[in-house]
Symmetry: C2
Subunit: 199 residues, 2 copies
């Protein structure tokens, strides 16, 4: 089943509000390879846009410089595939701005799905499985997947999201993937795989 | 089906021989986040070790410094989960050294599986599908997955490998994932998913 052509799936990488190791709410710095890896995965698996959310103007400037290099600058000629990926990035001040923009584009507010290695007490009641979300993506409805940087999304984000996706796990108890790896695996589970594969 | 506990799967990230944009054989530089992301995915999905292959001594030194920081240094106390992942890395001069070491450890030479976005003419005849490889991993046999840096594995590596894994694709023609993202998706397809999920 290949459902990506019928879905309106957006991604947002949140740099504020997220938590640090002590569970304090912080604004994290932007990581260059987050932009590259997640935009390439977004493009590969058919997401509609990749929002980078930070209220810090210097961090927004860093993002713009990176994107400019690959979309308009020398990098665009050197590697047109990379241009195609990074052109999917939109920098926004807040998650609310992202939701408003998608609602405007799609004519309907997006359903938000928080991701993370730990679902936590706030998320437990609205945890959703990959198989179920994959089916739900077929509905005529925009979806917004939320990824946290640093030690993960602040509980305020998880608390306000419509659903919380089950964590990506392997066979054991260790599930400390980078946000880049987690985003790729999640997109593959939701939108990927050859059309003749079973899910 | 959860087959990871019965498998002996090893990973190797090849920095030589790989190709550049012009398909010339080169030795690539090590990327810090390759070490972090792929070791974390290897640990999450239950691979037995993660070999970083480069003949360049200065690149080996860079690797050792990174690993030392996270396994023995300040990083080990700050983030014990990261220590557990990076402790899986073994730096070796060549793919032949890796194969010999695994044969010594396992009492049997590993079957090698080349990965890449383009299977190429050399690989077409021995292309293997995810579903088939997932089943084959159950056999009492060590396996070695080969990942290329830069523009991918040199044709000599693909030519000598036992199998070539089908590329990771999304719904469209674009499949330019980073090696970090591709490794995570491939490990998930081969070893991941909750035990009650269909594959």
């Amino acid at each position: 089943m290949n459902n990506s052509l019928k879905t309106s799936l957006y991604l947002a990488l949140i740099h504020y509000p997220v938590v640090n190791k002590k569970s304090e709410v912080i604004a994290s710095a932007v990581t260059n390879l987050d932009l590259h890896d997640i935009s390439r995965a977004a493009r590969t698996f058919g997401a509609k846009a990749f929002y980078v959310v930070t209220p810090l103007m210097d961090q927004q400037d860093i993002c713009r410089n990176i994107i400019r290099h690959w979309v308009d600058g020398w990098g665009a000629k050197f590697n047109p595939d990379r241009k195609e990926a990074l052109a999917m990035i939109r920098i926004r001040d807040s998650l609310d701005d992202v939701k408003r923009e998608i609602a405007h584009l799609e004519g309907k507010a997006p359903k938000t799905v928080a991701t993370g290695a730990r679902v936590g007490s706030l998320g437990k009641s609205k945890e959703i499985r990959f198989d179920d979300l994959r089916r739900m993506l077929m509905a005529h409805q925009p979806w917004l997947l939320l990824f946290g940087t640093a030690w993960g999304l602040a509980s305020s984000v998880t608390g306000e999201s419509d659903h919380v996706l089950e964590p990506v796990t392997g066979p054991g108890n260790y599930n400390h993937l980078s946000v880049r790896s987690a985003a790729a695996v999640i997109l593959d589970r939701l939108l990927g795989r050859p059309s003749d594969s079973k899910v």
